[in-house]
Symmetry: D4
Subunit: 224 residues, 8 copies
Amino acid sequence: MTSDRTVDLGFARLDVDRAARTGTPEVVYAAGKTPAQTVACLAGLLEGGAGSAWATRVDGDTATAIRDRWPDAVIDEEARCAVVGALPEPVGEVLVLTAGTSDGPVAAEVAATLAACGVGCRRVDDVGVAGVHRVLAVAPDLAAADAVVVVAGMDGALPSVVAGLTDRLVVAVPTSVGYGAAFGGLAALLTMLTACAPGVLVVNIDNGFGAGVAAARIARSAQR
Amino acid sequence: MTSDRTVDLGFARLDVDRAARTGTPEVVYAAGKTPAQTVACLAGLLEGGAGSAWATRVDGDTATAIRDRWPDAVIDEEARCAVVGALPEPVGEVLVLTAGTSDGPVAAEVAATLAACGVGCRRVDDVGVAGVHRVLAVAPDLAAADAVVVVAGMDGALPSVVAGLTDRLVVAVPTSVGYGAAFGGLAALLTMLTACAPGVLVVNIDNGFGAGVAAARIARSAQR
Amino acid sequence: MTSDRTVDLGFARLDVDRAARTGTPEVVYAAGKTPAQTVACLAGLLEGGAGSAWATRVDGDTATAIRDRWPDAVIDEEARCAVVGALPEPVGEVLVLTAGTSDGPVAAEVAATLAACGVGCRRVDDVGVAGVHRVLAVAPDLAAADAVVVVAGMDGALPSVVAGLTDRLVVAVPTSVGYGAAFGGLAALLTMLTACAPGVLVVNIDNGFGAGVAAARIARSAQR
Amino acid sequence: MTSDRTVDLGFARLDVDRAARTGTPEVVYAAGKTPAQTVACLAGLLEGGAGSAWATRVDGDTATAIRDRWPDAVIDEEARCAVVGALPEPVGEVLVLTAGTSDGPVAAEVAATLAACGVGCRRVDDVGVAGVHRVLAVAPDLAAADAVVVVAGMDGALPSVVAGLTDRLVVAVPTSVGYGAAFGGLAALLTMLTACAPGVLVVNIDNGFGAGVAAARIARSAQR
Amino acid sequence: MTSDRTVDLGFARLDVDRAARTGTPEVVYAAGKTPAQTVACLAGLLEGGAGSAWATRVDGDTATAIRDRWPDAVIDEEARCAVVGALPEPVGEVLVLTAGTSDGPVAAEVAATLAACGVGCRRVDDVGVAGVHRVLAVAPDLAAADAVVVVAGMDGALPSVVAGLTDRLVVAVPTSVGYGAAFGGLAALLTMLTACAPGVLVVNIDNGFGAGVAAARIARSAQR
Amino acid sequence: MTSDRTVDLGFARLDVDRAARTGTPEVVYAAGKTPAQTVACLAGLLEGGAGSAWATRVDGDTATAIRDRWPDAVIDEEARCAVVGALPEPVGEVLVLTAGTSDGPVAAEVAATLAACGVGCRRVDDVGVAGVHRVLAVAPDLAAADAVVVVAGMDGALPSVVAGLTDRLVVAVPTSVGYGAAFGGLAALLTMLTACAPGVLVVNIDNGFGAGVAAARIARSAQR
Amino acid sequence: MTSDRTVDLGFARLDVDRAARTGTPEVVYAAGKTPAQTVACLAGLLEGGAGSAWATRVDGDTATAIRDRWPDAVIDEEARCAVVGALPEPVGEVLVLTAGTSDGPVAAEVAATLAACGVGCRRVDDVGVAGVHRVLAVAPDLAAADAVVVVAGMDGALPSVVAGLTDRLVVAVPTSVGYGAAFGGLAALLTMLTACAPGVLVVNIDNGFGAGVAAARIARSAQR
Amino acid sequence: MTSDRTVDLGFARLDVDRAARTGTPEVVYAAGKTPAQTVACLAGLLEGGAGSAWATRVDGDTATAIRDRWPDAVIDEEARCAVVGALPEPVGEVLVLTAGTSDGPVAAEVAATLAACGVGCRRVDDVGVAGVHRVLAVAPDLAAADAVVVVAGMDGALPSVVAGLTDRLVVAVPTSVGYGAAFGGLAALLTMLTACAPGVLVVNIDNGFGAGVAAARIARSAQR
């Protein structure tokens, strides 16, 4: 089957047909890789025929190595993402909400992922449930979106409230924001998994990338 | 000091002056006691001078044993509480909210405790955040209350929203309602401990008794 | 706003306009309710104007009480669901996979939920990764589906493999099947949250209802 | 409703009427925010009409940025709190007890919060239960207080003993002081949640801010 | 070496010289054994030369089987212990305290173990820290004892207070008494392990047997 | 590929060529299946060409159903296993040790699995480390075995000691024997995973089946 | 009562009569205190009449501050302990065993504590159960000791084996040595709490101080 | 017995006959030892008669100290292992698979261990199940190997798939690669323990050394 080609770098075997199979290209998870390994993976994906290549969890050294190789790479420091090559034209719109300003970097990873997937993004920050009128104020945005991503740490209560206000799917991202009984995002994760409103789907703690890919698939499907 | 008298039953040493010291009489926790032990404790407290005596976590056999001894005991089956002797006249009012119908027994324990402490209670059930307008609808009740007790299982998100709507203290009671990642009330407990709104204080899972005592103290203090 | 009407039963406040707001009607969670309470909630929803009403986690006594009231209620014993009133005509198709036969009751709850939401369902059981050719054999089904629900206990590895084969969203449902280090579904839950393939979204352990609602929304959106 | 105004800074939406609604102004949680973001939030709150504005979890860089902008800001380094603007005149008195010297910074956050809320504070440190006569020695202070805050790490046993000595509400703050089976404050948290004396209400680990807000509300209510 | 003899019953290999090596005979842990297996183990120990033999965690069926075989066996139902043969004459005295009446069965296992080990026991029940004067009242008993065993569930705070009042070793036994955040004794276990007073040593949850053996060794050593 | 045939029963898809691929036939995990489903699976495997078929976690009803269908089925009640068809002639020998009598049922599952896999078994029970001479006494058995399976609950310390005495691989099976801090086998599991001697490999709690399969593979390989 | 004197330093209230009450002087826990606070506490204890004063968890800065104030202070860097004043003449002997070299610092804290308490210490390192003959080789030392302290990380199996070889009490100290499933000492802690041999008493992870105090009390009692 | 010789270094007691007893020499675990201690242990093993000596978890300072003493030591920086002396000639072959590039250092420790044990190694990296054709592509390698080691973090799903494709034993090594709900390798550990395919045996998180020793034993046994 042609959709099973692999590029073998020794330390990595790139799944260059993943986009053909799954609609999402293989993405380089840079944590735990040396800068040189990340650069080699990106190069391998481009040589394998991808129009663009993309890395997440990019630290400072890796960002430098990427820019050294591709001076026009787009590097989003807040999101810790890097894209090499042309971004697709965005279609549709995903609404990205954060419960607090400290959830910003994870929301930035969602936004960067949506951009890389060719989906539009509208972001509204700091709509925590402690001022529930701020949540009610985004109701028009909910109605206009193809999907909603809710990013929240601490009590992680925002998705429960949002899902009760909309018929859009809510992709909930717990963050590691908080201290003590937040247990590094565990509290928010459990809250979201037990949300009393249906229509809430959950990804890993701080996994803005996974939420972005999922929301992009929903949006693209709604735009078809 | 006269406030340190103890009645020794062998298997129990009743702290008969606790009401004088702490404003709340010693209450018999019937779980893990035989019906005979619970009856003996209640009798000891009455003989020690208490006007009324009171037990929580009362199962069927214990309820029968209590009624055999004191035919006019007030036994609240939903709350699993029993009171022997005259209840005080209620003062003030505590608002007790539940997120769902299944949280009812714990709310009943709160209400029974408030009655035993001589404080009025207004209870509104099933105001979960999945229909946030139901929460907003209780705003007038919040303003009229001396304190608010919020009882919620599953995601435990209700106290975060309520605390953002009122200047009353919110006593949050996580319940063991739910399954899977609710982990017997752990999810709701962590949510409440990390509530993004200040003014939320938390008691043990399913601890309607503790919430009732605390709310009663707040109400009595406000009525002074 | 007309979409905020509530029917107050005392022990419950039914959110009768939830379907209008969120596309999914309020569903009665029967666990922790008495049979009489569940029947009253269903009746209240019907009286509130719903064409059909629906309960999950229905045990034997509750099923009997429902059938006593509505002799033509549809009760799915494997799924522990009951529906009163006419089911909508199904549109689209969701593929529901189980890793093993023991995951069947949760998959049945997914299927019953899809039926109640008016979405078609194709179910293939026992495609565990220990015989990965069984997974590869469902590739044509994946391509034909609007969304995929994967139900798996024990190691919970199936969603990771499926998500690598399709561009459909994968809604992963961990189940409490297993023993020892399965920790009541925790192992499968963590596996799914950390799935190495993007496009996996997770619901609570054994939450076939939540997965069904989410998959129905995706399917309906794709059919629009 | 006038109590729902929001100031939109892009990365934050300040809830400037929270004090009107809840009696406690919105407070800036500086952890996870850049110094510039914290300064902007404080400025926004002041511009929104607040007489004073206040931040918690303030690190060194943020403290410097605040003082650069408002040279007369009050910065409490032990408490890691900053206040800009005039503090209210204190009324009433809350007794703040620590079990050990190492619990000092959390107690300092309680004290700073009480000051910001306009409530008086009396602090007695190092009254651990290993020398229970030290606890008995504070009995007169208990009787004079409007509420009691007990700050304790390690075994977290102090609130159980204190609550048996007073009719005041005890707000218990577990701290992350300790090692090994203290598990970052989890041991103390569980101890406090299961305290055998009623009248103990619990906040998150190290959450001196939350305890201070709650105690201030009790004190102000008692002074009314 | 003569202290290494083993009696082989097939399903069990009895360590008949353990008393010679360790001062404590092998004791039959009846949980998970059939009544017939427990009886056979007791018989094997007696035939191996022991003056008496002893089983813990004895349920009703096993108790009946033991009494059928040895009509004069001493069976303590509260402690779920059985002893066959003559008990030694007691020397010394261990003080056994419980925090509450519900901790009684575990204290009974401590007492039965002390009796089997030939050490005297004085038991005072229900001296919880919520009435700390009850703890202070046992100070003379503390001074008279060779060792102290403290049995407590829920918050497990009693050993911390007792250890601050005595120079005797405190053997702390957490119990599974409690609910919610007591987590089956985990809360009490962690409290005891992090006790702020030195001189507290801990055994497993509900392990009255282990506490009794340890206290007996201390008492016998002090009496030498 | 002929080794990928599947027999589709609707609720199950039997992997009838698994033995050809992996050396171990598909085994029916009866927990969570109805007796009829288990019987159908066994029948399907036999019809698919297997010489024998085999189920684990067989309860009483399922055992009856199996015997009704195949009167000469071999059902091991202690092991909760059933085999239909002829057992292979055993080769080689695996030594199975238990730390205590209560670990017997898990060891029985190991032994039944070895028999089904055609490998000999020598079982020595109750060689706990509290009488370490009992462990040393099995040294000759260790030298004679092709592999060693060690079954232990509570502290799970036996594999660490055994692995220091032999060059055979030690397959360690933690059991759920114990109470309190044994946490259902978690204590033994962690002990075995952190064993200070290399050569210890671990399976799931109570997983006698998995240990038996693994030990059989080692033994058959050594006998080749 | 003269045994209840307190020296009030503001940030600390020194319990100067604790030695009179409990046989062990108050010890300064330096973690979480500034160097100046630790020095002030030591000075306060000496001024309160103690012949010597003592601190644990002493880091480099605190050690320097202590030596600046008392040039002849004894500072044990491995144990992170400091003693000011004359050490008592040692009596009796406690045997301190470690399972591995990496457990050394905790064993050093045990030894330093014994020295401060006036009890002799014999230390044998690296007698892990993977070479069980090394454990058997210390049998004569066991017989000569007044008590045994066993320090072990990773699997924590050593106390189970030692307690089967001696009639001395075994004080078990789990350490945070290890990685992965050792979970910072949790594995060893659970192993020790569930030790299959009676006579094992457990202290907190890495708590050499607590083990030393307890062993000293046993030894002094045996020497009386 | 000659196989029980010990070399006593004071801080360590080297088990120099472990290779004779167990087939694997004592290996120095350098974490928690000073560089000088590690060097002394290696020297002691060589002086005790070992042809080579070997350390794991070697950091930079320790590596330098080893090379200073033995300039021709083989130090593998990725694996953090050091070997002094001649490596044995390799026999047989173990296949080592990683799920991702970030698992490389643990796989390197497996490979270094195999080399030290005299067993051949074939390593294929980055065959994660998200591209399951990459797994299927290694089928010929599986058939050629004496044993398989699978190294995987995050969801840890690879061993379940591999074990369904081979009759070789699969030694599964969970790694700490991942974030959030990966919980430092716990997710992968639980996945592997609950793998739905038999023939999977598990070692501690990141324990490449243990996996290597076990695989080497299997390979050597198969080559005999």
